[in-house]
């Protein structure tokens, strides 16, 4: 019972929070509003999924926000240059993958810690985004086909939610049903043992960072479509919330480990909180304080679990 509570405690707390918001905030539990929350959460969830996959491989990718921005800017610049939008999308995605490849090679070939390598790659991505845009946003003139990818819907389901579901299904399949996924997990949790078991750990870490960049690229491109605009800082702000969501996720379902379901719970808590507190009419600084407190609590909880795992609860 205690173990189960430990595993699912955050989920229960999230449910309690949602129930409280549903009671207190008129309209919070309306299906339309819940759909809005899920739609808004999709972009952050896609980015946080990538962050989780890198963390599963034992690497920290602090460039995901800036890589998402670069993908967005490359796509928008090409659209504005008259290139067909599917090609522009592809180019934006390739730009993101290039960032992931550079980070991965820095980590695996040059033995640069991922914290530093991804910070550097993020800075380069920001520089290139400013180089392309000159600091000016691309607004309007986006083809309807592209905009539809971010604003359209399939029946009542907004398309960003559909992309998220597909991504999560693919990521879950990779981690739970494939040898590559198992190797990725092993490389992150016990790299020495994985190496002894014949797993190419460096390759797995490179894969983790590539997957993070791919998710970042997808997030940036969908943001471009949804907002019909791009700017050299469009997704930068999402990094901190992505970290918060992943840390919050590490407190639940598989406590102490980065896990996709936990990340999704984290994202939904963050997005529900922003929506619910707005419906309650609370000002922006209350939202910032609430998010900060949740981050502190989740980091504290995760740190305690990690310590318990490492030292058997001894202090």
């Amino acid at each position: 019972m205690k173990q189960r509570l430990r595993d699912w405690g955050t989920v229960l707390a999230a449910v309690a929070l949602l129930a409280a918001l549903a009671l207190a905030a008129p309209g919070f539990a309306a299906p339309g509003n819940l759909l809005v929350i899920v739609k808004q959460a999709s972009f952050l969830a896609i980015l946080a999924t990538g962050f989780t996959l890198a963390l599963v491989a034992g690497e920290l990718d602090l460039s995901v926000g800036q890589v998402a921005t670069l993908a967005s800017v490359v796509c928008a610049a090409l659209v504005f240059a008259g290139i067909a939008w599917p090609l522009a999308l592809l180019a934006g995605f390739l730009a993101a993958l290039t960032c992931g490849l550079v980070s991965g090679l820095c980590v695996t070939r040059l033995a640069i810690p991922s914290l530093i390598a991804t910070l550097a790659v993020g800075a380069i991505a920001t520089g290139v985004a400013f180089l392309i845009t000159g600091g000016i946003a691309y607004v309007g003139r986006f083809p309807p086909g592209l905009v539809q990818l971010g604003r359209g819907s399939l029946g009542p389901l907004p398309l960003p939610v559909l992309w998220l579901v597909l991504l999560l299904a693919a990521a879950a399949f990779l981690l739970k049903r494939t040898r590559t996924g198992a190797a990725l997990l092993a490389s992150g949790e016990a790299p020495d043992a994985a190496r002894l078991a014949g797993i190419d750990v460096a390759r797995m870490k490179l894969l983790g960072l590539l997957l993070a960049a791919a998710c970042a690229g997808l997030c940036g491109l969908l943001l471009t479509a949804a907002l019909a605009s791009s700017s050299p800082t469009i997704a930068n702000e999402l990094l901190m919330r992505s970290i918060a969501a992943v840390l919050l996720g590490m407190t639940t379902i598989e406590p102490g480990r980065p896990n996709l379901a936990g990340t999704l719970v984290g994202v939904l808590v963050i997005q529900s909180l922003a929506n619910g507190l707005t419906l309650l009419g609370l000002p922006y600084y209350v939202q910032d304080i609430a998010l900060g407190l949740i981050m502190l609590a989740s980091v504290g909880f995760s740190a305690r679990l990690l310590q318990e795992a490492a030292f058997g609860g001894a202090r």
Partner: protein, 315 residues
């Protein structure tokens, strides 16, 4: 963690039960509350609305376009009676503003540009502002000499001021631009301006008689650079646009090189937007408030002759 969430939920329930019944619900979204001009506008609008007994939800997009769009969407979900955007991004949030319009929620913006989904933009005529400060500066130089320029093309208003200055310089060929720096970054803009303008000031030391800045924040950074070079008031003229208390203090300060600014009445604009929404909600046709997409306010040129005392305003 669970205790924290219970506390948040309890606060939410408390807040939900403490909103005045039947009050007009106004949502205010400021794009970047850390920018003085955004905060002045939003805070004044909030105060004006609360004076009318309205229930105000004040949100800060913190410079993030995705957050900006999500916050407008959340306000629509909340079912506010009206929305006010302070220095908002109506083009990027087009889908969300269209949703507001579909729900017959009037949206008035302040210095945000226009949109088919908003009623009008409370603003100053930036062409007039640019002309005021540009012609004033050339007058100080007796229409001859050299200047440096600090531009910002990423905002509609500052861009127009720069273009107007270009035309003034074209028509008055006795004044030459020795160097120009275009600020690109929005989040670390002070460092950007400092690096760019310091290089220009050092390169052209002793050869320029004035510096034109597209807004006061830039002028403050440049003022500090000029003072560090040992220059005294009157040796180099320095102008900006915006006109807050810091600009007035520098104009009064004998050690500062700040010469003049055009003071934009941000507080009055916030109040005017609230008054206009009050009229619209009372049934006044939009065309009776202003015929076009703009509601223009007057900006005042402030120099040593009319600079207000500490805490005072020029209107």
């Amino acid at each position: 963690m669970r205790r924290l969430l219970v506390l948040v939920a309890a606060a939410a329930v408390w807040a939900g039960g403490n909103t005045p019944a039947m009050a007009v619900k106004l949502g205010i979204v400021a794009f970047q509350m850390s920018a003085e001009t955004h905060a002045r506008t939003a805070n004044a609008a909030k105060a004006a609305a609360e004076d009318k007994g309205w229930e105000v939800t004040l949100l800060n997009s913190a410079g993030s376009v995705p957050d900006h769009a999500a916050q407008i969407e959340n306000l629509v979900q909340k079912g506010v009676d009206a929305i006010l955007l302070a220095m908002g991004k109506p083009l990027q949030a087009e889908a969300q503003l269209a949703a507001a319009k579909a729900k017959k929620i009037p949206v008035v913006t302040v210095m945000s540009g226009t949109s088919p989904h908003t009623l009008f933009d409370v603003t100053v005529n930036e062409f007039e502002v640019g002309a005021k400060i540009g012609v004033y500066l050339l007058g100080l130089l007796d229409y001859k000499g050299n200047i440096l320029m600090s531009r910002y093309e990423g905002h509609g208003g500052t861009k127009i001021r720069g273009r107007v200055m270009d035309i003034i310089l074209e028509e008055n060929s006795g004044v030459k631009v020795l160097g120009s720096h275009a600020m690109a970054r929005t989040q670390s803009w002070r460092e950007d301006v400092k690096a760019g303008m310091e290089a220009l000031v050092l390169r052209h030391a002793g050869k320029f008689q004035a510096v034109w800045a597209s807004f006061d924040g830039q002028a403050f950074v440049i003022d500090d650079i000029l003072q560090a070079q040992g220059l005294k008031k009157g040796q180099v003229y320095l102008t900006g646009v915006d006109g807050g208390q810091e600009a007035f203090r520098r104009i009064r300060d004998p050690s500062s090189l700040m010469t003049a600014t055009v003071a934009i009445p941000f507080e009055l604009m916030g109040e005017a937007a609230v008054d206009a929404l009050d009229d619209v909600l009372a049934g006044t046709p939009k065309s009776d408030i202003t015929p076009g997409p703009y509601l223009f306010m007057d900006a005042v040129l402030v120099d040593a002759n009319n600079v207000p005392a500490e805490g005072e305003w020029p209107w």
